[in-house]
Symmetry: C2
Subunit: 214 residues, 2 copies
């Protein structure tokens, strides 16, 4: 599948590499197609390429938004035309580190970044998922032994099925579907607990498991 | 141990009954010592009694705050003198149902009800815990098969040890200690996800397990 990874940071590169390993074609989207880090990353595979956010989105069959929360809406706006009628996996979190660590959220409680993205991209099927765990586990759930869960939400049932099938190839069993995109409030507010668990445990190598009894 | 349960609702009664089963003496605190429901509950055991919030707190060796979030500060204020130098287990959540279900939080992100309680009760050791799961599991973790976790936070290490030992008798292994009371932000914001999981799963018979690998 042609997957656009919008974002050139650590998350974007890690996702891109995992996607290539799984046999996908990957175009990394950046503000400029001349982005040095993105081009260095893409040099490693014939199935990897680099483009602007708009180019990568237009080329893709599926897109993943992997930028920091503060840039998410601007990147979505830049990619908007190319994302029409497509599925966008939103793994962003509105983390605000201006007060140090652990962060607060720049949006929460009665709104969420997931909802803002869906409002900005009214012709795109936004599916929020993967934002609830550390980068190395996102497309490699088997790296953490024992049962653990992925959560998702979004307004379009078919888009959620597409995302679930896509993630299954990486080892994820069916994500817990919370319902419409407003449930992004829960998925994003979890990060306030996640970052404090990260601090207390001294590692990001953990994930939540919803224990429902054996 | 003499345990005050501040609150006469479903949570208070359930906690009170579990505490009696475990051999504790329990005084249920209410706005009025003549509270009908509390007296009906107390009639079932010689080790159960009823008093005002102030009476129950003054009598107790350990207190549990089990009222709805909107009443938590007023009840804490009423019990303040009696709670001096004692441990208060805060299991409240600042849930706001004015917009329906799922609720929002009336306090979050840069403050929490746990912190507000600790500020109001400066001579009391507030330990936040048990707020993260359904009432029937609070003092009966064995009712849910498989591993699952309890989280706690508070400023006083000895108070947290007291609470951990107290809860161990009910079957809880050591809670994950997140640190100071400001971590109540994480414990309370989890409820936004919890309530949405409750809706999606159609049951409150679940709890989070922090999967850290086997």
């Amino acid at each position: 599948m042609k997957v656009a990874v919008l974002g050139t940071g650590d998350v974007g590169k890690m996702l891109g590499t995992k996607l290539l390993e799984q046999g996908h074609e990957v175009r990394m989207g950046s503000r400029s197609a001349a982005h040095e880090g993105a081009n260095a990353w893409a040099a490693a595979s014939e199935r990897a390429s680099v483009g602007t956010f708009a180019d990568a989105a237009a080329w893709s069959e599926l897109a993943m938004l992997a930028v920091s929360g503060q840039h998410a809406l601007a990147v979505a706006e830049a990619a908007r035309e190319g994302l029409r009628s497509k599925v966008l996996i939103d793994l962003t979190n509105p983390l605000d580190f201006s007060g140090g660590f652990p962060p607060t959220l720049s949006i929460c409680n009665d709104d969420s970044l997931g909802e803002q993205l869906q409002r900005a991209l009214s012709d795109t099927h936004v599916v929020k998922t993967l934002n609830t765990l550390a980068n190395p586990l996102m497309l490699d759930p088997g790296a953490l032994q024992g049962p653990h869960d992925l959560l998702m939400c979004g307004n379009d049932a078919a888009a959620k099925q597409t995302v679930a099938a896509f993630l299954q190839d990486f080892g994820w069993s069916a994500p817990i579907d919370l319902g419409d995109i407003d449930n992004a409030r829960g998925l994003e507010m979890w990060l306030v607990l996640w970052t404090r668990l990260y601090r207390a445990l001294g590692t990001g190598h953990f994930n939540l498991h919803i224990q429902r009894g054996d």
